[in-house]
Symmetry: C2
Subunit: 249 residues, 2 copies
DNA sequence: CAGAGTTTGCGAACATCGTTCTCGAACTAG
DNA sequence: CTAGTTCGAGAACGATGTTCGCAAACTCTG
């Protein structure tokens, strides 16, 4: 029935008619389409015709359109440039797989100091790359939030982040949670940056302006009239992560 | 051409044939459908047939399906129970609309103290209600992230939150940003809670288990083997908000 | 070389979807 | 009553994701 996720499904077979295309080719075509015309343009028919075939052919490589989106997300995740995290006095190398990790460190993980391996700096660097990636592939902000990303490149990235956080005393679940939240927030910020002055943005701000003029929302009016801008990207990332992984509030 | 957002479009006309249905009825039918069978079940045809008519009739009340989703989101936003925020030594009532708001307070907004109006407590209360709302209407976690919510009930909620934050020295843009991020994070957490043991969750964790057994992801394996659970909802909300609106890091 | 077994290619078709067209019906204003 | 306007809704259009079925291409076995 269900032969599991696409990641543990063999792409080629030793016998039978050899495939004329590959997952990578289809994925690349879909990414090109999405980069140029948005995620809605990634139609089975359009991807197929971009490769010179009919829609049905794609289903030999992918079981569903959602799987194609998974492939796309993981393919662009290969663009990360991950430098090994700064080694760390204790808890540096991979912990022995069987034993409980991080038994003792308590006073570890102060704010954003320079000691304890500088996990914050490593996370901020990854966050910047994520934002840049979403700038190159705006459809990511639409495709990612509804989909758990567990492809090989995504897992390599996750492993890198966890390595960066290796010296941190928080629980594994907390770290995974913090990373998921961080990615969600970056998606929010990136999408907000991209929709600047879109066709729908203008009439929306105009409507908001009208609402505030009618009264009844004084605090909203004051917030919109405030000349001071929002916090910068690095600030937001830093505050999110120190909030989530900093000392108990 | 474009007659603006649905919120400033008259629902009824003084002349012409009177409408047999109302936006509220259609919205209610759509919400019932979404609560029972998910957002994908909210089809123009199914909503229409739930009201005993054809699909074309809905377009007298709504210009597009997305507008119907906007109506749905704002309709359930009416379920919030907003108690007026605790008054506050200074910066209590609505600021005079023309003047710059919050000129002087500097040392305000410490961590989660009891003074300065307890903005954190108010925000946590709203966050709890949002989570409960998403529990009652799981489709919200899918419908909200890709859609700016500016209906009347959503704006009332936003006004309430900004009133709660009235005494806080941060800029209006920062407060709006923090609220948007908070909602996004709540959506993430709620969706994670809902997808517990879905049809797709089992095979995904199984796949992850296999990956960790293969080696190559020692930190991920350690994180998954960590018996300690993630932070609770109130903790996450508190940490997010104190991180975003607390003193500079 | 011949057949069996297996996989791929893909035209055709199906079920749905959102949306538009169109025109008769129902109502108000003058 | 007439003119003007809005509503109802059947029919249809175009597009979508996906499935079916069969011919073609290949490996393996003998």
């Amino acid at each position: 029935m269900t032969d599991g996720p696409i990641w543990k499904r063999p792409e080629t077979f030793a016998i039978g008619r050899p495939a004329e295309r590959s997952r990578a080719q289809i994925t690349a075509a879909a990414i090109t389409l999405a980069d140029a015309e948005g995620l809605d343009a990634v139609t089975m028919r359009r991807v197929a015709s971009a490769m010179g075939t009919g829609p049905a052919s794609l289903y030999r490589y992918v079981k569903t359109r959602d799987e194609l989106l998974d492939l796309m997300i993981d393919a662009v995740a290969a663009e990360y440039r991950l430098t090994p995290p700064t080694p760390n006095p204790r808890a540096d190398g991979p912990p022995e797989e069987g034993s409980r990790a991080g038994e003792s460190p308590e006073a570890e993980a102060a704010l954003g100091g320079s000691a304890e391996g500088d996990w914050l700096g490593g996370v901020v660097e990854v966050a910047r790359q994520t934002r840049d990636l979403m700038g190159r592939h705006p459809w990511l902000t639409v495709a990612m939030p509804l989909r758990p990303t567990v492809g090989p490149h995504s897992l390599a990235l996750l492993e890198h982040v966890l390595a960066t956080l290796a010296g941190h005393p928080a629980s594994g679940a907390t770290k995974l949670q913090a990373y998921a939240i961080l990615n969600g927030v970056i998606g929010l910020i990136a999408r907000a940056e991209h929709t600047g002055l879109g066709d729908r943005q203008a009439e929306l701000t105009g409507y908001l302006r009208q609402v505030t003029r009618e009264g009844g929302h004084p605090h909203l009016a004051a917030a919109l009239a405030d000349g001071r801008g929002p916090d910068g990207f690095d600030d937001v990332v830093t505050r999110i992560m120190t909030g989530l992984l900093g000392p108990a509030a």
